[in-house]
Symmetry: C2
Subunit: 297 residues, 2 copies
Protein backbone atom coordinates (compact mmCIF):
# COMPACT_ATOMS: atom_id res chain seq x y z
CA UNK A 1 0.00 0.00 0.00
CA UNK A 2 1.40 3.38 -1.03
CA UNK A 3 1.30 5.60 2.03
CA UNK A 4 1.47 9.37 1.72
CA UNK A 5 1.70 12.07 4.36
CA UNK A 6 0.65 15.68 3.86
CA UNK A 7 1.50 18.49 6.29
CA UNK A 8 -0.49 21.59 5.29
CA UNK A 9 0.17 24.89 7.05
CA UNK A 10 -2.94 27.08 7.10
CA UNK A 11 -3.16 30.74 8.15
CA UNK A 12 -5.51 30.38 11.11
CA UNK A 13 -4.20 29.58 14.57
CA UNK A 14 -6.47 31.55 16.88
CA UNK A 15 -10.13 30.87 16.09
CA UNK A 16 -10.74 27.32 17.36
CA UNK A 17 -14.24 27.20 15.91
CA UNK A 18 -13.01 28.13 12.45
CA UNK A 19 -10.21 25.53 12.64
CA UNK A 20 -12.80 22.95 13.66
CA UNK A 21 -15.00 23.86 10.69
CA UNK A 22 -12.05 23.56 8.31
CA UNK A 23 -11.05 20.16 9.71
CA UNK A 24 -14.65 18.96 9.30
CA UNK A 25 -13.94 18.75 5.56
CA UNK A 26 -11.88 15.63 6.36
CA UNK A 27 -14.97 13.71 7.51
CA UNK A 28 -15.72 12.71 3.93
CA UNK A 29 -12.42 10.80 3.87
CA UNK A 30 -12.52 8.44 6.87
CA UNK A 31 -9.53 6.38 5.66
CA UNK A 32 -7.31 9.46 5.95
CA UNK A 33 -6.05 9.91 9.51
CA UNK A 34 -5.47 13.34 10.99
CA UNK A 35 -2.47 12.55 13.19
CA UNK A 36 -1.92 15.99 14.63
CA UNK A 37 -3.16 19.59 14.60
CA UNK A 38 -0.76 22.12 16.08
CA UNK A 39 -2.17 25.65 16.28
CA UNK A 40 0.00 28.59 17.32
CA UNK A 41 -1.75 31.78 18.39
CA UNK A 42 1.32 33.94 17.99
CA UNK A 43 2.02 32.62 14.49
CA UNK A 44 -1.76 32.59 13.83
CA UNK A 45 -1.13 29.40 11.94
CA UNK A 46 -2.01 25.70 12.20
CA UNK A 47 0.11 22.78 11.07
CA UNK A 48 -1.98 19.69 10.25
CA UNK A 49 -0.59 16.18 9.69
CA UNK A 50 -2.60 13.90 7.41
CA UNK A 51 -1.76 10.26 6.68
CA UNK A 52 -3.33 7.72 4.36
CA UNK A 53 -3.20 6.12 0.95
CA UNK A 54 -1.67 7.91 -2.02
CA UNK A 55 -5.12 8.02 -3.62
CA UNK A 56 -7.13 9.39 -0.70
CA UNK A 57 -4.74 11.92 0.86
CA UNK A 58 -4.75 14.37 -2.10
CA UNK A 59 -8.57 14.27 -2.21
CA UNK A 60 -8.87 14.93 1.51
CA UNK A 61 -6.26 17.68 1.21
CA UNK A 62 -8.19 19.35 -1.61
CA UNK A 63 -11.38 19.37 0.48
CA UNK A 64 -9.43 20.77 3.45
CA UNK A 65 -7.80 23.48 1.30
CA UNK A 66 -11.07 24.61 -0.24
CA UNK A 67 -12.68 24.75 3.22
CA UNK A 68 -9.77 26.85 4.53
CA UNK A 69 -9.84 29.22 1.56
CA UNK A 70 -13.58 29.70 2.07
CA UNK A 71 -13.14 30.68 5.73
CA UNK A 72 -9.82 32.55 5.92
CA UNK A 73 -9.52 36.15 4.70
CA UNK A 74 -5.88 37.13 4.20
CA UNK A 75 -6.78 40.83 4.13
CA UNK A 76 -7.29 40.58 7.89
CA UNK A 77 -4.56 38.05 8.74
CA UNK A 78 -1.84 39.06 11.22
CA UNK A 79 0.76 36.65 12.61
CA UNK A 80 4.45 36.41 13.38
CA UNK A 81 5.20 33.56 10.94
CA UNK A 82 5.88 34.34 7.24
CA UNK A 83 2.96 33.34 4.95
CA UNK A 84 1.74 34.01 1.43
CA UNK A 85 -1.84 32.69 1.53
CA UNK A 86 -4.76 31.17 3.43
CA UNK A 87 -3.42 27.73 2.63
CA UNK A 88 0.21 28.71 2.88
CA UNK A 89 2.25 25.55 2.24
CA UNK A 90 1.20 22.03 1.23
CA UNK A 91 4.07 19.50 1.26
CA UNK A 92 3.40 15.91 0.20
CA UNK A 93 5.68 13.36 1.86
CA UNK A 94 6.14 9.80 0.55
CA UNK A 95 6.17 7.41 3.53
CA UNK A 96 5.94 3.88 2.23
CA UNK A 97 6.08 1.92 -1.06
CA UNK A 98 6.44 5.07 -3.14
CA UNK A 99 9.30 7.20 -4.42
CA UNK A 100 9.74 10.95 -4.47
CA UNK A 101 8.83 11.24 -8.15
CA UNK A 102 5.35 9.91 -7.40
CA UNK A 103 4.89 12.48 -4.64
CA UNK A 104 6.04 15.15 -7.11
CA UNK A 105 3.40 14.05 -9.64
CA UNK A 106 0.76 14.13 -6.92
CA UNK A 107 1.88 17.63 -5.85
CA UNK A 108 1.67 18.88 -9.45
CA UNK A 109 -1.80 17.39 -10.01
CA UNK A 110 -3.00 18.73 -6.67
CA UNK A 111 -1.58 22.20 -7.30
CA UNK A 112 -3.17 22.50 -10.73
CA UNK A 113 -6.55 21.38 -9.44
CA UNK A 114 -6.45 23.64 -6.38
CA UNK A 115 -5.30 26.62 -8.46
CA UNK A 116 -8.18 26.15 -10.87
CA UNK A 117 -10.91 25.41 -8.32
CA UNK A 118 -9.93 28.16 -5.88
CA UNK A 119 -8.79 30.69 -8.49
CA UNK A 120 -5.38 31.26 -6.86
CA UNK A 121 -1.75 31.28 -8.02
CA UNK A 122 0.27 28.12 -7.20
CA UNK A 123 4.04 27.89 -6.77
CA UNK A 124 5.82 24.54 -6.67
CA UNK A 125 8.77 24.10 -4.27
CA UNK A 126 11.44 21.57 -3.11
CA UNK A 127 11.31 18.31 -5.08
CA UNK A 128 8.24 19.59 -6.98
CA UNK A 129 9.94 22.85 -8.03
CA UNK A 130 9.84 23.53 -11.78
CA UNK A 131 12.52 26.23 -11.50
CA UNK A 132 15.77 26.01 -9.51
CA UNK A 133 15.08 29.38 -7.83
CA UNK A 134 11.85 27.97 -6.34
CA UNK A 135 13.41 24.95 -4.64
CA UNK A 136 13.79 26.74 -1.29
CA UNK A 137 10.51 27.56 0.51
CA UNK A 138 11.81 30.79 2.06
CA UNK A 139 12.83 32.09 -1.38
CA UNK A 140 9.37 31.39 -2.83
CA UNK A 141 7.63 33.07 0.11
CA UNK A 142 9.82 36.18 0.09
CA UNK A 143 7.67 39.34 0.09
CA UNK A 144 4.86 37.32 1.69
CA UNK A 145 1.14 37.96 1.15
CA UNK A 146 1.65 41.72 1.28
CA UNK A 147 4.08 41.63 -1.66
CA UNK A 148 2.13 39.11 -3.75
CA UNK A 149 0.03 41.52 -5.94
CA UNK A 150 3.18 43.31 -7.07
CA UNK A 151 5.17 40.07 -7.45
CA UNK A 152 2.52 38.66 -9.81
CA UNK A 153 3.07 41.58 -12.20
CA UNK A 154 6.76 40.60 -12.62
CA UNK A 155 7.95 37.80 -14.96
CA UNK A 156 9.94 36.14 -12.16
CA UNK A 157 6.76 36.09 -10.01
CA UNK A 158 4.64 34.23 -12.59
CA UNK A 159 2.98 31.25 -10.86
CA UNK A 160 3.62 27.62 -11.88
CA UNK A 161 -0.10 26.79 -12.00
CA UNK A 162 -3.51 28.28 -11.21
CA UNK A 163 -4.56 31.85 -11.98
CA UNK A 164 -1.99 34.52 -12.82
CA UNK A 165 -4.06 37.26 -11.17
CA UNK A 166 -4.06 38.35 -7.51
CA UNK A 167 -6.69 36.79 -5.23
CA UNK A 168 -6.87 39.26 -2.35
CA UNK A 169 -8.85 37.01 -0.03
CA UNK A 170 -6.85 33.76 -0.43
CA UNK A 171 -3.37 34.86 -1.54
CA UNK A 172 -1.32 32.05 -3.09
CA UNK A 173 -0.41 28.47 -2.13
CA UNK A 174 3.05 26.89 -2.25
CA UNK A 175 2.79 23.17 -3.04
CA UNK A 176 5.66 20.73 -2.88
CA UNK A 177 7.05 17.28 -2.21
CA UNK A 178 9.81 16.51 0.26
CA UNK A 179 11.20 13.58 2.26
CA UNK A 180 9.94 13.04 5.81
CA UNK A 181 11.70 15.25 8.34
CA UNK A 182 12.95 13.68 11.57
CA UNK A 183 13.42 15.94 14.59
CA UNK A 184 16.23 14.27 16.51
CA UNK A 185 18.20 15.57 19.48
CA UNK A 186 21.37 14.25 21.10
CA UNK A 187 21.84 15.23 24.75
CA UNK A 188 25.40 15.36 26.04
CA UNK A 189 26.56 14.72 29.60
CA UNK A 190 28.12 18.15 30.12
CA UNK A 191 26.94 21.66 30.94
CA UNK A 192 29.40 23.23 28.51
CA UNK A 193 27.27 24.61 25.69
CA UNK A 194 30.39 25.29 23.62
CA UNK A 195 30.69 21.51 23.18
CA UNK A 196 27.17 21.27 21.71
CA UNK A 197 27.82 24.27 19.48
CA UNK A 198 31.07 22.82 18.15
CA UNK A 199 29.46 19.43 17.46
CA UNK A 200 26.44 21.06 15.78
CA UNK A 201 28.88 22.86 13.46
CA UNK A 202 30.67 19.57 12.76
CA UNK A 203 27.57 17.63 11.69
CA UNK A 204 25.44 20.25 9.93
CA UNK A 205 25.54 20.87 6.19
CA UNK A 206 25.87 24.65 6.45
CA UNK A 207 29.27 24.45 8.12
CA UNK A 208 30.75 21.45 6.32
CA UNK A 209 28.84 18.52 7.81
CA UNK A 210 26.35 16.03 6.43
CA UNK A 211 24.18 17.07 3.50
CA UNK A 212 20.78 16.38 5.12
CA UNK A 213 21.45 17.69 8.64
CA UNK A 214 20.42 21.00 10.20
CA UNK A 215 21.77 21.45 13.73
CA UNK A 216 22.30 23.88 16.57
CA UNK A 217 23.57 23.76 20.13
CA UNK A 218 21.09 24.28 22.98
CA UNK A 219 21.62 24.49 26.76
CA UNK A 220 19.25 22.25 28.77
CA UNK A 221 19.53 23.95 32.12
CA UNK A 222 16.94 21.82 33.95
CA UNK A 223 18.69 18.63 32.93
CA UNK A 224 22.22 19.95 33.45
CA UNK A 225 23.05 18.88 29.90
CA UNK A 226 23.59 20.44 26.50
CA UNK A 227 21.87 19.35 23.32
CA UNK A 228 22.68 19.03 19.66
CA UNK A 229 19.21 19.82 18.33
CA UNK A 230 18.70 18.60 14.76
CA UNK A 231 16.41 18.26 11.82
CA UNK A 232 17.31 15.27 9.68
CA UNK A 233 15.78 16.33 6.37
CA UNK A 234 16.57 13.20 4.35
CA UNK A 235 17.19 10.05 6.39
CA UNK A 236 17.91 8.01 3.27
CA UNK A 237 20.84 10.23 2.29
CA UNK A 238 22.07 10.86 5.84
CA UNK A 239 20.86 8.08 8.16
CA UNK A 240 20.30 8.53 11.89
CA UNK A 241 23.03 6.16 13.08
CA UNK A 242 25.75 7.97 11.11
CA UNK A 243 24.89 11.25 12.77
CA UNK A 244 24.74 9.69 16.24
CA UNK A 245 28.05 7.87 15.86
CA UNK A 246 29.72 11.02 14.48
CA UNK A 247 28.47 12.98 17.48
CA UNK A 248 29.77 10.21 19.74
CA UNK A 249 33.32 10.37 18.37
CA UNK A 250 33.37 14.17 18.24
CA UNK A 251 32.12 14.37 21.86
CA UNK A 252 34.81 11.92 22.93
CA UNK A 253 37.53 14.47 22.16
CA UNK A 254 36.16 16.58 25.03
CA UNK A 255 35.75 13.51 27.27
CA UNK A 256 31.98 13.91 26.90
CA UNK A 257 29.47 11.09 26.45
CA UNK A 258 26.01 10.88 24.92
CA UNK A 259 23.56 10.84 27.82
CA UNK A 260 20.44 10.17 25.77
CA UNK A 261 18.74 10.92 22.49
CA UNK A 262 15.27 12.26 21.77
CA UNK A 263 12.99 11.59 18.85
CA UNK A 264 10.49 14.44 18.65
CA UNK A 265 7.19 13.55 17.04
CA UNK A 266 7.05 10.86 14.38
CA UNK A 267 9.43 8.88 12.18
CA UNK A 268 8.73 6.62 9.22
CA UNK A 269 9.37 2.94 9.87
CA UNK A 270 11.94 3.03 7.04
CA UNK A 271 14.27 5.22 9.15
CA UNK A 272 14.32 2.50 11.79
CA UNK A 273 15.07 -0.15 9.16
CA UNK A 274 18.54 1.34 8.75
CA UNK A 275 18.97 1.67 12.55
CA UNK A 276 18.37 -2.08 12.88
CA UNK A 277 20.65 -2.85 9.93
CA UNK A 278 23.52 -0.85 11.38
CA UNK A 279 23.38 -1.62 15.08
CA UNK A 280 22.31 -5.26 14.84
CA UNK A 281 24.51 -5.77 11.76
CA UNK A 282 21.63 -7.43 9.91
CA UNK A 283 22.82 -6.26 6.50
CA UNK A 284 19.74 -7.38 4.59
CA UNK A 285 17.10 -6.56 7.21
CA UNK A 286 13.86 -5.53 5.56
CA UNK A 287 10.66 -4.04 6.90
CA UNK A 288 8.87 -7.00 5.36
CA UNK A 289 10.30 -8.92 8.33
CA UNK A 290 8.15 -6.85 10.69
CA UNK A 291 4.94 -8.76 11.33
CA UNK A 292 2.71 -5.70 11.49
CA UNK A 293 3.97 -4.44 8.11
CA UNK A 294 1.89 -7.21 6.54
CA UNK A 295 -1.27 -5.62 7.83
CA UNK A 296 -0.51 -2.43 5.88
CA UNK A 297 -0.58 -4.06 2.47
Amino acid sequence: MKILECVPNISEGRDAKKIEEILAALKEYPSVKCLNVSSDKDHNRSVITLLGSAEEVPKAMLALALAAIERIDMRRHRGSHPRIGAVDVVPFVPIRDMEMDEAVRIAHDFGRELGEKAGIPIYFYEAAALREDRRNLADVRRGQYEGLAEKLTRPEGKPDAGTAGFNAKAGATIVGARPPLIAFNVNLATTDKAVADAIARAVRFKTGGYKAVKAMGVALEDKGMVQVSMNLVNFKETPIHRVVETIRFEAARYGVQIAECELIGLTPMAALEEVVRYYLQIHDFSLDQVIEAHLLS
Copy 2:
Protein backbone atom coordinates in the same frame (compact mmCIF):
# COMPACT_ATOMS: atom_id res chain seq x y z
CA MET B 1 -6.10 -2.56 17.21
CA LYS B 2 -5.41 -5.82 19.02
CA ILE B 3 -3.32 -7.95 16.68
CA LEU B 4 -3.07 -11.70 17.16
CA GLU B 5 -0.97 -14.29 15.38
CA CYS B 6 -1.79 -17.99 15.21
CA VAL B 7 0.66 -20.66 13.99
CA PRO B 8 -1.23 -23.94 13.59
CA ASN B 9 0.66 -27.11 12.75
CA ILE B 10 -1.47 -29.57 10.82
CA SER B 11 -0.66 -33.20 10.01
CA GLU B 12 -0.60 -32.97 6.21
CA GLY B 13 2.55 -31.94 4.36
CA ARG B 14 2.45 -34.06 1.20
CA ASP B 15 -0.91 -33.73 -0.56
CA ALA B 16 -0.84 -30.21 -2.05
CA LYS B 17 -4.46 -30.43 -3.18
CA LYS B 18 -5.66 -31.36 0.29
CA ILE B 19 -3.62 -28.53 1.86
CA GLU B 20 -5.15 -26.14 -0.66
CA GLU B 21 -8.66 -27.32 0.24
CA ILE B 22 -7.96 -26.85 3.94
CA LEU B 23 -6.58 -23.32 3.39
CA ALA B 24 -9.68 -22.44 1.34
CA ALA B 25 -11.57 -22.27 4.66
CA LEU B 26 -9.75 -18.97 5.25
CA LYS B 27 -11.51 -17.29 2.33
CA GLU B 28 -14.48 -16.48 4.55
CA TYR B 29 -12.15 -14.28 6.65
CA PRO B 30 -10.50 -11.86 4.22
CA SER B 31 -9.18 -9.57 6.98
CA VAL B 32 -7.03 -12.44 8.30
CA LYS B 33 -3.75 -12.67 6.37
CA CYS B 34 -2.08 -16.01 5.73
CA LEU B 35 1.56 -14.89 5.94
CA ASN B 36 3.20 -18.23 5.30
CA VAL B 37 2.53 -21.92 4.66
CA SER B 38 5.51 -24.18 5.15
CA SER B 39 4.88 -27.82 4.20
CA ASP B 40 7.44 -30.53 4.91
CA LYS B 41 7.03 -33.85 3.08
CA ASP B 42 9.33 -35.75 5.43
CA HIS B 43 7.49 -34.45 8.51
CA ASN B 44 4.20 -34.76 6.61
CA ARG B 45 3.20 -31.57 8.35
CA SER B 46 2.38 -27.95 7.45
CA VAL B 47 3.03 -24.89 9.57
CA ILE B 48 0.65 -22.03 8.76
CA THR B 49 1.05 -18.44 9.96
CA LEU B 50 -2.13 -16.40 10.35
CA LEU B 51 -2.26 -12.73 11.32
CA GLY B 52 -5.16 -10.40 12.00
CA SER B 53 -7.39 -8.89 14.65
CA ALA B 54 -7.99 -10.63 17.97
CA GLU B 55 -11.63 -11.07 16.97
CA GLU B 56 -11.16 -12.54 13.51
CA VAL B 57 -8.13 -14.82 13.92
CA PRO B 58 -9.84 -17.34 16.29
CA LYS B 59 -12.82 -17.55 13.91
CA ALA B 60 -10.61 -18.15 10.88
CA MET B 61 -8.58 -20.66 12.89
CA LEU B 62 -11.71 -22.57 13.86
CA ALA B 63 -12.81 -22.81 10.22
CA LEU B 64 -9.31 -23.95 9.24
CA ALA B 65 -9.20 -26.55 12.03
CA LEU B 66 -12.61 -28.02 11.14
CA ALA B 67 -11.61 -28.21 7.47
CA ALA B 68 -8.37 -30.00 8.41
CA ILE B 69 -10.12 -32.45 10.71
CA GLU B 70 -12.61 -33.25 7.94
CA ARG B 71 -9.84 -34.07 5.46
CA ILE B 72 -7.03 -35.65 7.50
CA ASP B 73 -7.29 -39.24 8.74
CA MET B 74 -4.74 -39.89 11.49
CA ARG B 75 -5.17 -43.67 11.10
CA ARG B 76 -3.19 -43.36 7.88
CA HIS B 77 -0.75 -40.59 8.90
CA ARG B 78 2.98 -41.28 8.76
CA GLY B 79 5.66 -38.61 9.27
CA SER B 80 8.96 -38.04 11.07
CA HIS B 81 7.72 -35.19 13.31
CA PRO B 82 5.95 -36.02 16.58
CA ARG B 83 2.16 -35.35 16.46
CA ILE B 84 -0.97 -36.21 18.41
CA GLY B 85 -3.72 -35.21 15.98
CA ALA B 86 -4.88 -33.89 12.60
CA VAL B 87 -4.65 -30.36 13.96
CA ASP B 88 -1.64 -31.01 16.12
CA VAL B 89 -0.77 -27.72 17.82
CA VAL B 90 -2.51 -24.33 17.80
CA PRO B 91 -0.51 -21.56 19.54
CA PHE B 92 -2.02 -18.08 19.80
CA VAL B 93 0.58 -15.29 19.90
CA PRO B 94 -0.23 -11.74 21.08
CA ILE B 95 1.49 -9.28 18.72
CA ARG B 96 0.18 -5.81 19.45
CA ASP B 97 -1.98 -3.96 21.98
CA MET B 98 -2.76 -7.11 23.91
CA GLU B 99 -1.22 -9.01 26.80
CA MET B 100 -0.61 -12.72 27.24
CA ASP B 101 -3.64 -13.18 29.51
CA GLU B 102 -5.92 -12.15 26.64
CA ALA B 103 -4.27 -14.67 24.33
CA VAL B 104 -4.75 -17.29 27.06
CA ARG B 105 -8.48 -16.49 27.26
CA ILE B 106 -8.74 -16.74 23.49
CA ALA B 107 -6.90 -20.08 23.51
CA HIS B 108 -9.26 -21.45 26.18
CA ASP B 109 -12.39 -20.30 24.33
CA PHE B 110 -11.05 -21.63 21.06
CA GLY B 111 -10.08 -24.98 22.55
CA ARG B 112 -13.47 -25.50 24.19
CA GLU B 113 -15.32 -24.65 20.98
CA LEU B 114 -13.10 -26.82 18.77
CA GLY B 115 -13.29 -29.73 21.21
CA GLU B 116 -17.07 -29.59 21.19
CA LYS B 117 -17.59 -29.02 17.47
CA ALA B 118 -15.03 -31.60 16.32
CA GLY B 119 -15.62 -34.10 19.12
CA ILE B 120 -11.94 -34.33 20.08
CA PRO B 121 -9.91 -34.05 23.31
CA ILE B 122 -8.12 -30.72 23.87
CA TYR B 123 -4.98 -30.14 25.93
CA PHE B 124 -3.83 -26.63 26.91
CA TYR B 125 -0.08 -25.87 26.96
CA GLU B 126 2.48 -23.09 27.68
CA ALA B 127 0.84 -19.91 28.99
CA ALA B 128 -2.60 -21.50 28.51
CA ALA B 129 -1.70 -24.64 30.53
CA LEU B 130 -4.13 -25.43 33.37
CA ARG B 131 -1.67 -27.89 34.94
CA GLU B 132 2.04 -27.31 35.52
CA ASP B 133 2.90 -30.69 33.89
CA ARG B 134 1.28 -29.53 30.63
CA ARG B 135 3.30 -26.33 30.23
CA ASN B 136 5.89 -27.97 27.94
CA LEU B 137 4.61 -29.05 24.50
CA ALA B 138 6.87 -32.10 24.26
CA ASP B 139 5.54 -33.41 27.60
CA VAL B 140 1.91 -33.05 26.47
CA ARG B 141 2.62 -34.77 23.16
CA ARG B 142 4.53 -37.70 24.69
CA GLY B 143 3.16 -41.03 23.38
CA GLN B 144 1.84 -39.21 20.31
CA TYR B 145 -1.29 -40.20 18.36
CA GLU B 146 -0.49 -43.89 18.72
CA GLY B 147 -0.52 -43.67 22.52
CA LEU B 148 -3.56 -41.41 22.79
CA ALA B 149 -6.34 -44.04 23.20
CA GLU B 150 -4.54 -45.58 26.15
CA LYS B 151 -3.53 -42.19 27.60
CA LEU B 152 -7.19 -41.09 27.67
CA THR B 153 -8.05 -44.00 29.94
CA ARG B 154 -5.59 -42.74 32.59
CA PRO B 155 -6.42 -39.91 35.05
CA GLU B 156 -3.24 -38.00 34.11
CA GLY B 157 -4.28 -38.14 30.44
CA LYS B 158 -7.71 -36.54 31.00
CA PRO B 159 -8.13 -33.69 28.50
CA ASP B 160 -8.60 -30.05 29.59
CA ALA B 161 -11.58 -29.55 27.26
CA GLY B 162 -13.54 -31.32 24.51
CA THR B 163 -14.55 -34.97 24.58
CA ALA B 164 -12.89 -37.44 26.94
CA GLY B 165 -13.18 -40.31 24.44
CA PHE B 166 -10.75 -41.28 21.69
CA ASN B 167 -11.41 -39.90 18.18
CA ALA B 168 -9.51 -42.29 15.95
CA LYS B 169 -9.73 -40.14 12.83
CA ALA B 170 -8.73 -36.76 14.30
CA GLY B 171 -6.69 -37.58 17.41
CA ALA B 172 -6.35 -34.64 19.83
CA THR B 173 -5.34 -30.98 19.57
CA ILE B 174 -2.92 -29.10 21.81
CA VAL B 175 -3.94 -25.45 22.13
CA GLY B 176 -1.85 -22.75 23.76
CA ALA B 177 -0.65 -19.19 24.04
CA ARG B 178 2.98 -18.11 23.88
CA PRO B 179 5.08 -15.02 23.12
CA PRO B 180 6.34 -14.50 19.57
CA LEU B 181 9.49 -16.46 18.85
CA ILE B 182 12.39 -14.68 17.13
CA ALA B 183 14.89 -16.79 15.19
CA PHE B 184 18.11 -14.80 15.47
CA ASN B 185 21.64 -15.82 14.51
CA VAL B 186 24.96 -14.16 15.25
CA ASN B 187 27.75 -14.99 12.80
CA LEU B 188 31.30 -14.74 14.11
CA ALA B 189 34.41 -13.88 12.10
CA THR B 190 36.23 -17.11 12.83
CA THR B 191 36.19 -20.70 11.55
CA ASP B 192 36.66 -22.11 15.05
CA LYS B 193 33.35 -23.79 15.89
CA ALA B 194 34.45 -24.23 19.51
CA VAL B 195 34.06 -20.46 19.90
CA ALA B 196 30.42 -20.59 18.75
CA ASP B 197 29.74 -23.58 20.99
CA ALA B 198 31.25 -21.88 24.04
CA ILE B 199 29.25 -18.70 23.42
CA ALA B 200 26.03 -20.65 22.83
CA ARG B 201 26.56 -22.28 26.23
CA ALA B 202 27.18 -18.86 27.79
CA VAL B 203 23.95 -17.26 26.57
CA ARG B 204 21.43 -20.12 26.64
CA PHE B 205 19.17 -20.85 29.59
CA LYS B 206 19.93 -24.57 29.73
CA THR B 207 23.57 -24.00 30.64
CA GLY B 208 23.26 -20.92 32.87
CA GLY B 209 22.50 -18.14 30.38
CA TYR B 210 19.49 -15.95 29.75
CA LYS B 211 16.05 -17.28 30.63
CA ALA B 212 14.44 -16.85 27.19
CA VAL B 213 17.34 -17.98 24.97
CA LYS B 214 17.85 -21.32 23.23
CA ALA B 215 21.18 -21.51 21.39
CA MET B 216 23.63 -23.80 19.65
CA GLY B 217 26.89 -23.46 17.75
CA VAL B 218 26.88 -24.11 13.99
CA ALA B 219 29.74 -24.14 11.43
CA LEU B 220 29.01 -22.06 8.29
CA GLU B 221 31.51 -23.61 5.94
CA ASP B 222 30.52 -21.66 2.82
CA LYS B 223 30.92 -18.38 4.64
CA GLY B 224 34.05 -19.36 6.53
CA MET B 225 32.33 -18.33 9.76
CA VAL B 226 30.68 -19.94 12.75
CA GLN B 227 27.24 -19.12 14.06
CA VAL B 228 25.47 -18.84 17.37
CA SER B 229 22.03 -19.98 16.18
CA MET B 230 19.26 -18.93 18.55
CA ASN B 231 15.59 -18.90 19.32
CA LEU B 232 14.63 -15.91 21.44
CA VAL B 233 11.43 -17.22 23.01
CA ASN B 234 10.45 -14.10 24.96
CA PHE B 235 11.95 -10.85 23.69
CA LYS B 236 10.32 -8.84 26.48
CA GLU B 237 12.12 -10.81 29.19
CA THR B 238 15.38 -11.23 27.28
CA PRO B 239 15.71 -8.48 24.64
CA ILE B 240 17.72 -8.87 21.44
CA HIS B 241 20.34 -6.22 22.21
CA ARG B 242 21.31 -7.83 25.51
CA VAL B 243 22.02 -11.14 23.82
CA VAL B 244 23.99 -9.47 20.99
CA GLU B 245 26.11 -7.37 23.36
CA THR B 246 26.78 -10.39 25.58
CA ILE B 247 27.93 -12.37 22.57
CA ARG B 248 30.11 -9.41 21.57
CA PHE B 249 31.97 -9.27 24.89
CA GLU B 250 32.24 -13.06 25.14
CA ALA B 251 33.64 -13.26 21.58
CA ALA B 252 36.16 -10.53 22.42
CA ARG B 253 37.96 -12.83 24.84
CA TYR B 254 38.96 -14.95 21.84
CA GLY B 255 39.80 -11.88 19.75
CA VAL B 256 36.73 -12.65 17.63
CA GLN B 257 34.27 -10.09 16.26
CA ILE B 258 30.63 -10.26 15.21
CA ALA B 259 30.63 -10.35 11.40
CA GLU B 260 26.87 -10.04 10.94
CA CYS B 261 23.55 -11.04 12.39
CA GLU B 262 20.58 -12.72 10.76
CA LEU B 263 16.90 -12.35 11.51
CA ILE B 264 15.13 -15.44 10.15
CA GLY B 265 11.51 -14.88 9.24
CA LEU B 266 9.45 -12.31 11.09
CA THR B 267 9.66 -10.20 14.23
CA PRO B 268 7.02 -8.11 15.98
CA MET B 269 7.60 -4.37 15.77
CA ALA B 270 7.74 -4.32 19.58
CA ALA B 271 11.07 -6.22 19.54
CA LEU B 272 12.54 -3.41 17.46
CA GLU B 273 11.19 -0.79 19.89
CA GLU B 274 13.71 -1.98 22.49
CA VAL B 275 16.50 -2.14 19.86
CA VAL B 276 15.91 1.55 19.09
CA ARG B 277 15.69 2.43 22.79
CA TYR B 278 18.98 0.76 23.59
CA TYR B 279 21.19 1.62 20.64
CA LEU B 280 19.88 5.14 20.02
CA GLN B 281 19.54 5.75 23.77
CA ILE B 282 16.00 7.07 23.28
CA HIS B 283 14.82 5.91 26.70
CA ASP B 284 11.15 6.69 26.12
CA PHE B 285 10.90 5.70 22.46
CA SER B 286 7.48 4.32 21.67
CA LEU B 287 6.03 2.59 18.63
CA ASP B 288 3.41 5.33 18.57
CA GLN B 289 6.24 7.46 17.16
CA VAL B 290 6.31 5.29 14.04
CA ILE B 291 4.11 6.92 11.42
CA GLU B 292 2.79 3.68 9.96
CA ALA B 293 1.69 2.43 13.40
CA HIS B 294 -1.15 4.95 13.19
CA LEU B 295 -2.59 3.13 10.22
CA LEU B 296 -2.99 -0.03 12.31
CA SER B 297 -5.39 1.49 14.82
